[in-house]
């Protein structure tokens, strides 16, 4: 098969964790909450989905558990920042440390391995080649739908307006009767559920949980959020770009003798390079990290 024929479906498949983390990140940040805990949400949801799928023998329940776990982490972050006024970076750092340590702790405790869990059954067995299997994957379809819904919710609904108001000017939003704290907690929770969909897709893609399997995707997604100037559709497109480097790395690793370390660095180097194109403070939500009073 041609390089293109393998890179394109691979890119689409690998873009789901990036894209969903970015979509979730946009929702959090548009409400005014910085969320560097996306990486931790990806890890937590990956682990929860695998653990639940193994415990219940139901892949569907696994998906649900992953989304719930991710949402719970988001709820915690939202409450810590919006209600209790803990610095969002501090809270995010704590979440990432807890998720990295906690998943490895449970991995060893429950599955007796420090590297990976037993394998889980696929969500559905799909026929056809790599293209059809990628495009018909329920998690892929759900991701596409969620991004479309997110764009509409942000731009067309009352909740979306509240989110944007809380993010742009929490003081004014509060004065106009928007419950900024509640809106933000809800936005961070829902954003983390979106991100968790990416984590779930990651573990169903690998058919298991691997220690540290989020591999920095949450951080790259956050960079995509900033580069997109906080627009969901553009953030997702940028994520396709980062995922294509991942996919390219995988394909090259199988077909050439380039050192794997060089290939695994590609998305991170690309992110650093792309940061040169951020215009200072352009179109960031004005109230990012600020409170209503």
């Amino acid at each position: 098969m041609s390089i293109l024929g393998s890179v394109v479906p691979e890119t689409l498949r690998m873009s789901v964790p990036y894209a969903m983390a970015a979509a979730g990140g946009v929702l959090c940040e548009r409400s005014g909450v910085v969320n560097i805990g996306l990486e931790g949400v990806l890890l937590t949801s990956s682990f929860a989905s695998v653990a639940c799928a193994l415990a219940t023998h139901s892949p569907v329940l696994g998906v649900v558990a992953g989304l719930v776990a991710g949402g719970a982490v988001g709820l915690l972050h939202g409450v810590l920042f919006a209600r209790l006024r803990v610095n969002a970076i501090v809270s995010g750092v704590a979440i990432n440390i807890a998720a990295a340590g906690g998943t490895r702790f449970l991995l060893r405790g429950w599955f007796g391995s420090s590297s990976n869990s037993p394998s889980i059954p696929a969500l559905v067995e799909l026929p056809g080649g790599p293209f059809t299997r990628t495009l018909l994957d329920p998690l892929f379809l759900l991701s596409v739908v969620s991004v479309v819904v997110l764009t509409l919710v942000l731009s067309r609904t009352r909740f979306g307006l509240d989110v944007r108001a809380s993010g742009e000017d929490p003081v004014a939003a509060h004065a106009l009767g928007v419950d900024v704290v509640r809106t933000r907690i809800l936005a961070v929770t829902l954003g983390s559920v979106l991100c968790a969909l990416g984590g779930v897709a990651l573990s169903y893609d690998q058919h298991q949980f691997q220690s540290g399997m989020s591999g920095g995707r949450g951080f790259i997604a956050l960079a995509a959020v900033i580069l997109s100037r906080w627009r969901p559709a553009l953030a997702v497109v940028l994520c396709l770009g980062f995922a294509s480097l991942d996919a390219l790395g995988n394909v090259l690793q199988n077909s050439t003798h380039l050192p794997p370390d060089a290939l695994s660095m590609l998305p991170f180097v690309a992110t650093l390079v792309s940061l040169f194109f951020v215009k200072r403070g352009q179109l960031a939500p004005e109230g990012l990290g600020k409170h209503a009073d």
């Binding site: 704590a94 490895r104 215009k279």
Partner: protein
Amino acid sequence: MPATHPGARVLLGVLVACIAFEVMVFLYGESPREMLTLLYEGTWGSVLGVGQVLYKATPLFITALAVDFGLRAGLFNIGTEGQLAIASLAVAVAGAHLGMMPGAVGTVILLAVAVVSGALYAALPALLKVRFGAHEVISTIMMNRVADGLVGLALGAGLALPGTVQTTPLAPQLTLTKLEAWVPGLSGSSVSTAVFIAALVGIAYWVLVSRSRFGREVTFVGWNPVACAHERIPVARRTVQALLLSGAIAGLASSATVLGAKGYFEQGLGAGAGFSGLAVALIARRNIPSMLFVALLFGTLQQGGLFINGHVPKEAMEVLFAVVIVAVALTDSPSVLALLTRRRARAGAPS
């Protein structure tokens, strides 16, 4: 700014760590008392244990100072992990080339290499920050990942001894003396004179931030860059300098690992010290003695983790770090403070 007493923060940290430890052990199905005894015996219960705690705490204290300097300038340097990795590699490679250089001179040169390489690795995020407005959190995280790859590439491309993942060992006079040479009870511990280097770094850091104009200007920039610009303090330059110096200090943590413990560098040596140092700095909040105590607390947990590992996976300790960070951060939360003071006011009111 509501702030609790630094000593109270440390005490709260220790207390929360103990309680959370007991709860986790209990939930895991082991006996809290037995595990606590095991933890104590492996750490403060023996001379060897104390040595190992000091060994683990040394790089944490140094990277905490590094993160703290960034925080003073309003910068979250999450990149100490990568800065330390690159500096460690540089020190090991430079040391292997110094050969028969006399010990004292060689050690000073190697510490200088650590400082310069750590600072250089922080240069790109600093540039991105002041020239392009890219947030240092994102760029330094990316730099950490790139450092992982670079170290792997460099070791694979011939810096490691053939067939291994470690660099050529340094000549013995270039490494720092292990304390076991003087204290027989420390035999087998990796603790070295790096603890004295860390102490010197701590004192120098105190002079820098509280007795020097440069240190004060950096702190002012962190508080209010606009006012600083009006006072003709070069804000962008101080920001860059703060991040570079932060990276430089982080590089010095390699004294405990490469120069003190191993005498060579291998992939993963010192990994985690950057992130743990970040946690220490966030808990200790600008108070140097607190950083020392919190670094010792984390060193105790890391070392103790190895001792309970047969019963409870040692990764539990990382979860404890996170719990302590959040618990201590909550003491600055206005809502939590309000809750506490209201209680106290009500309790003190005449009935």
